[in-house]
């Protein structure tokens, strides 16, 4: 996801692997951000009523970008809670051998 701090040296034949090449990595993320924007743009289309209509069953779903927001917030919450869980349950690898 993020580029490494130290870029590994090229291979013997002078080529670089995909994610070792900063240019390719940059393009990879650019495309990804554009995709995110496109996904969000559909909700704008739905708002102005052009070309796309979002079928909804719940009030919450009608909020523009609801799925994006829920996905983003869900993951942030998940990771933060999991970090807390690690404090409680993590043990040294040698724990079993005691």
């Amino acid at each position: 996801m993020h580029s490494n701090d130290h870029t590994p040296p090229p291979n013997d034949d002078g080529t670089r692997h995909f994610f070792d090449d900063p240019v390719k990595t940059r393009w990879f993320f650019r495309i990804f951000f554009v995709l995110c924007a496109v996904a969000l743009a559909f909700d704008v289309l739905d708002l102005i009523g052009v070309g796309y209509h979002k079928e909804t069953h719940l009030g919450a779903e009608k909020v523009p970008g609801f799925y994006g927001i829920y996905g983003f917030a869900g993951i942030v919450a998940l990771v933060i809670v999991a970090k807390g869980l690690r404090k409680v349950v993590a043990r040294d690898e040698a724990y079993d051998d005691r």
């Binding site: 070792d20 909700d43 609801f66 996905g71 869900g74 990771v79 349950v89 043990r91």
Partner: protein, 570 residues
Amino acid sequence: MIVDLPPALLLIAGALVVPFLRGPLRAAWMVGVAVAALVNFVGVEHGTHWQVGVFGYTLELGRVDKLGYLFGLLFHIAALLAVIYSLHVKDTVQQVAALAYAGSAIGAVTAGDWITLFVWWELLALTSVFLVWAGRSEKTYAAGVRYLLVNIASGLLLLAGILFRTNDGGSLSIEPMLLGDTASVLIFLAIGIKCAFPLAHGWVIDAYPRATPTGTVFLSAFTTKAAVYLLARVFPGAEPLIWIGLVMASFPIFYAVIENDLRRVLSYSMINQVGFMVVGIGIGTPLAIDGAVAHAFADVIFKGLLFMAMGAVLMRTGTANGTDLGGLYKSMPWTTGFCLVGAASISAFPLFSAFVTKSMILSAALAEHHYLVWWVLLFASAGVLEHAGIKIPYFAFFAHDSGKRPKEAPWNMLVAMAIGSVLCIVIGSFPSLLYGLLPYEPMLHGHAYTPYDATHVVTQMQLLLFAILAVWWLMKAGIYPPEERKINLDVDRLYRALARGFWWIVTVPLAHLGKAIDSAVLERIPARVVAFAGFAHAEERAHRGWVTGASVLIALILLVGYLLVYYLSG
């Protein structure tokens, strides 16, 4: 149907021949058996076959209806894939066990009566434990014993349930039942253990990561799915399943974030996916049941694919720990690609399998106004993406370069993964193929269920893309927890403590006490009362005299006791 035998026996018969073959012949035989069994099963007609009368009961060795057929087909496909994947293995025990295990699973989903089911249920445990033991180390040995104990316990509960049922005059035929009386509760718990219900899930995360690379591929396909099948058959619409399933779908995703062993991450992921199915069965409408079994079908393939990819990594690098991996895409590009297909499938990207199966369960929840269920499952869907969609491929194949440059996986592994990948995409892209096999016609609001409409695709892409964005941001911001060389406590440690305690109490204090009583109370103490003459050697005499005299004394005491009791009560 080509062979007039219960389908399960084909693979088992095939397994029995394996030890007598060597080298390429054995490999060819294993693939041949798996293919022949699949072809044979495709032709099995729906209905009840092979009824046998045994000690006064009618056993239905093969009952094939839509539900059983779907699972039977699935298990045959899974068996074939796993056999191909493990063709390079040179270990008779594993090969025999694996085929017999697959056969037992097929037996379980085609059994028409409880006794037949019970037999297959126990064989599932007895055959598969060898796949855990095949690691041949102290750790895998202990994990195997625990695995066996838990699974046998499930079998005993099932047996108890069956006995209660027959005693209450219930029939032996496997039919839906209401959760309420003792028999149904016992059977429910028995299935629950194999289904990895919360608190009973320890055996999955304990044993699966410890089995051999190929063994786990077999393990992941059968036991839990056979349990899902049975739930769908026996307890459709049982409300507790909704809540149990919700817990299963959500708690493992937290553990998955912080777990270092990637095969253990997948084991948590498996519980999470089974959770979705259990919720579907609990909702119990035709659409929900269809969703649950369709998802089981998709899950066996994509979870198998992911376990195959991690198995290949484990075989090539000797580890499946996130801390020790990274950058493998450089030398294992094919494995990386197949793993990404598996990741996309489990994450439910459009055109991949879970997209057309999991959504049925969510739609059914909405249709039945189970709003809380919907919110939790949607959250769990994002969680799946995090650990199975991103974490697994990212830490194994990308992330920081571990410097490892292992060889690409052997050809047979690649073939198996390729077939799995194709299946994932075919199911996701042409859902009607799978829908046609489902027990009901998938219907929503009176219309045939269609996974591909603009809203579904857009909302799903939004959910997934922004979930990825969140992971990207959390890493960028340094919030995302790095992999650590740690283990995480879960109920499996509790099992271990209990098992160790039980073993100690039985084999040390109680067994010693028994021995002491046997020699002291029954021999020496009465012997003090009786003096007995003997022969020859002094030591021998003492010994002989004691025990014999003691026993005669006991016999006399008993006689007097019986006489008194008989007289008094007469």
